[in-house]
Amino acid sequence: MTVRDATPGRRPTTGRRARRTALAAALALVLAACSGEQNALDPAGPYAQAPHDLIIWVFGIAVVVFVLVQGLILFTTWRFRRREGDDAIPAQTHGNTKLEVLWTVIPALILAAISVPTVQLIFEQMDEPEAEYLTVEVIGHRWWFEYYYPDYDIYTANEMAIPVGVPVRLEMTATDLARAADLGVIHSFWIPRLAGKQDLVPGHTTYLNLQADEPGRYLGQCAEYCGLSHANMRARVVALDAGDFEAWVADQTTPADVPAEGTLEARGRELFGDLGARQACASCHAVWEGDGPRGPGQGPDLTNLFSREEFAGAIHDLTPDMLRAWLANPNELKPMQYDVNGIGMPNLNLTDEELDALVAYLMTLD
């Protein structure tokens, strides 16, 4: 698969742990931003770079103020400490208007200086990108992100593929039962290396621009507390070279294959559509086979499930074993509230035979 090829082996490993042994000082760390896929100090696109440049500058001012004030405190407390046996009473100065005006005016000037570029950048960041851009619609659900590409009629979840060097404008809102505009709560979409965060508010549409300058896998996370599994609602952006992106689009717009009659996979497909007395997978998940339903229901669209690396809010690697464990007991892998308010995926009490068949079938979906 093109997507996976484009981002080989970028899973976090213990290898990186060695790096954190050095306890770098705050200043050094902020200036020489260290790496990490979810690191706001390591921007990888213009919409992250501009705020970063601004804050570095503001941080510089803050450091100066910090050093000045703390230095002044240290000096004063040292210089004017009472020495043993000195019981004299110091002169009773009550104030000094000149000084006081000084430390009113100077901070005001500094702040005025900060606010000008701040205000400018606010508008720049929120305006529509000037260049041709790609639109992706984002819907926040408890607890996963859904993406829709109106230009290509593509549905996917948790992992968003974007072309490198092209601005992307996200159009975002939130609901829970897809498109039923019901029960949604606020989420926030945040890929630190590509852009700041923007909330997804039910009943509103919000916009966020982002752009990646290099191919790669950029990590992020829902950043507005959204209940039980807020911590397990992650987001990934996979930036692809133009060619790879085209291949990805082609793949995503191809319907799923129907497995050959009599195979385990076919049995899985059958179960997917009908679990007897239990709720069928198909009642919440769509698999597009060229006709029929398209797009997510209550759960993610699974047509191209195995084109993604992670699943369930991008908290687990998508492997057959993990998938099996998920189907056997979703709550075990990710706390959800299906029993309480119908949010999340239920435990369908699948038998081993059913699990084998379903996993085999799902593995054909790439």
Partner: protein, 636 residues
């Protein structure tokens, strides 16, 4: 307790008044502002232990990546209750403890304007806290964060009904205190105590009370709406029927931002008292200090949306609120520099109280600077809801408010108890506190910028690589803080038992409260002093020569303990009353009724409170008091 003595309307004189000054009943019935202040203090300590324990669980869970010591549900309850506890049950009532104890003493009054209302405030606070904590036993504590955003919290499935009702109760308590304190300050100053002669602590009490007065009603509305959405099916914040979640955010932060200044200004008041005394100089720039405080309060009302920069608001409000927010740094800066210059040229004595005050100025500045960084909107989108914000507000709240209050505890402990706190233990407390604090919250700046979001029950593995160390340091910091808190607690209890006797004026202090007996008598002053200057007490002790160098006045330091000077018989103090307590208890059935939509309980609570209120108003303030002599001043 006498819950059964339901009042009978119209009874001429209630027979039920605790008259002794000892025993539990005397505390339940007390109307003495000093004893109420002491009750606030001990209650705060208990809740602080709860809130600290919750943060301990948080830190344990986050000490390493992908841990599951506690479930996500428990984690969410922990940080929610931690936030609520620290804000509403620790910092705010801590301020109330100081205000209560000190305000009348500092302005030369015998009590606050409404002593029974004052007791009412305390009991409402206590029952509000008990009510909130009872949720642990009744199916789960609130779990929607201390800001309780709708629609998440406006949902019957969440435990946030307890939050909505509990905070409502605490709000009533605060509002009553605010009205009480404003009236007291405006109306009960000793002769000669003009506004510009009031200690800064009193100024900050006044400003804080005004902030409460105007902010509490706003959150009251937000909470009512939340509560009715969650329990009674109202539609305020339900997007499905067109309700707008942003309305809740606006209402919450219209309260919430003034609230943060409600928490810091009292501590600034404390520091403004401590610094001059131990520098042996008057406060530098008194007028600027008073007005900067008022300015902070005023501007503080106009910046609320800086908590919503990443919400669904447009660029114009983002820009406007960004600029407004930044400019709060100006009056705050004035305060910082004035404190430093209070020390400048002084002879600084580094008692524990002074150390904590210096710590306040230093640590608060750090928190303030990260606050200004938050206000840079484009980058706020990176900082918002990360540990960088967590670092910011712990620096201003813990490094600010708590440092200030603890400074105040060391400073006024001798006034309250007549004993000095142990200085050796105090210094141990200070240095471990400072270390533990920075160890806990310093690294959070980094983990936040490196991408760690707040309110997450697990530290993700893939993030763990970069921020795990910082989280571990934070967790270690908690251990240091915990140890340090134990030192503090031990010091308090030890000093209470066998602390060195302090005398009336151990610090060579400047303000009125040190001029009376230690501990003060129930009526505070045998004779209400006439005020001729700011720092009245100091000026009675020292005169100034031409070069502003003070010279002791020979027999000037006469402390007001002279039995003969007072006209004991004329001092008429309010008697104890159990009615505030009885009245207040009705809030429990009312509260549970609202949470469980049980009209019987609601009805019972209302009837109880109305009956209790009647008992209250027909009981004279003091025995044999006709409540209002014909010469009533207000009438003519």
């Amino acid at each position: 307790m006498a819950m059964t003595t339901t009042p009978t309307t119209g009874a001429p004189t209630p027979r039920f008044r605790p008259s002794s000054r000892e025993g539990i009943l005397s505390w339940i019935g007390t109307t003495d502002h000093k004893r109420i202040g002491i009750m606030y203090f001990w209650t705060v300590l208990v809740f602080f232990a709860f809130g600290g324990t919750q943060s301990g669980l948080i830190r344990a869970q986050l000490a390493q990546a992908e841990q599951s010591l506690i479930t996500a549900e428990i984690y969410n309850q922990m940080f929610t209750m931690h936030g609520i506890t620290m804000v509403f049950l620790v910092v705010m009532p801590f301020a109330a403890a100081f205000f209560n104890y000190l305000l009348p003493l500092m302005i030369g009054a015998r009590d606050v304007a409404f002593p029974r209302l004052n007791a009412f405030s305390y009991w409402f606070y206590l029952f509000g806290g008990v009510f909130l904590y009872s949720s642990f036993l009744l199916g789960g504590a609130p779990n929607g964060s201390w800001v309780g955003y709708a629609p998440l919290s406006a949902n019957a499935v969440s435990n946030m009904a307890f939050y909505a009702v509990g905070l409502q109760i605490l709000g009533v308590s605060s509002l009553a205190s605010a009205i009480n304190f404003i009236t007291t300050i405006l109306n009960m100053r000793a002769p000669g105590m003009t506004f510009m002669r009031m200690p800064i602590m009193v100024w900050m009490t006044l400003v804080t009370s005004f902030l409460l007065l105007f902010a509490v009603p706003i959150i009251a509305v937000a909470l009512f709406m939340l509560q009715f959405d969650a329990v009674f099916g109202a539609q305020f914040f339900q997007p499905a029927s067109g309700g707008d979640p942003l309305l809740y955010q606006h209402l919450f932060w219209l309260f919430g931002h003034p609230e943060v200044y409600i928490m810091i200004l009292p501590a600034m008041g404390v520091v403004s008292e401590v610094m001059p005394v131990f520098s042996r100089k008057p406060l530098f720039g008194y007028a600027a200090m008073a007005f900067a405080g008022a300015a902070i309060g005023f501007i503080g009302f106009g910046v609320w949306a800086h908590h919503m920069f990443t919400s669904a608001i447009g660029p114009v409000p983002r820009a406007a609120f960004s600029v407004a927010t930044m400019f709060i740094a100006v009056p705050t800066g004035i305060k910082i520099f004035n404190w430093v210059f209070t020390m400048w040229g002084g002879k600084i004595r580094f008692t524990t109280a002074m150390l904590f005050s210096v710590g306040f100025v230093s640590m608060f500045t750090i928190g303030g600077l990260s606050g200004v960084m938050h206000a840079v909107v484009p980058h706020n989108a990176q900082q918002h809801d990360t540990y960088f914000v967590v670092a910011h507000f712990h620096y201003v709240l813990f490094g600010g408010a708590l440092f200030g209050f603890i400074s105040g505890v060391y400073y006024w402990f001798p006034k309250v108890t007549g004993k000095l706190m142990d200085e050796k233990l105090g210094k141990l407390h200070f240095w471990t506190w400072l270390l533990g604090f920075n160890l806990t919250f310093g690294p959070m700046h980094l983990s936040g910028l490196l991408g760690q979001p707040r309110r997450t029950a697990v530290l993700p593995e893939e993030l763990g690589g970069t921020v795990e160390l910082y989280n571990l340091l934070s967790s270690l910091g908690f251990v240091v803080l915990f140890g340090s808190a134990l030192v503090f607690l031990y010091n308090l209890i030890r000093s209470l038992r066998r602390g060195e006797v302090s005398g009336d004026d151990p610090w060579d202090a400047r303000t009125l409260e040190w001029m009376t007996a230690t501990p003060p008598k129930p009526h505070n002053f045998d004779e209400i002093p006439t005020i001729t200057a700011r720092d009245e007490f100091w000026h009675r002790k020292y005169a100034e020569d031409e070069q502003h160098v003070p010279v002791p006045v020979p027999a000037g330091a006469s402390v007001d303990t002279d039995e003969h000077a007072g006209h004991g018989e004329h001092i008429h103090m309010p008697d104890a009353s159990v009615w505030p307590f009885i009245h207040t208890m009705g809030v429990l059935p009312l509260g549970y009724g609202l949470v469980y939509a049980n009209w019987w309980l609601i009805g019972a609570g209302v009837v109880w409170m109305v009956a209790g209120f009647f008992g209250w108003i027909i009981e004279p303030l003091a025995e044999g008091d006709d409540d209002e002599p014909a010469t009533a001043l207000a009438a003519h």
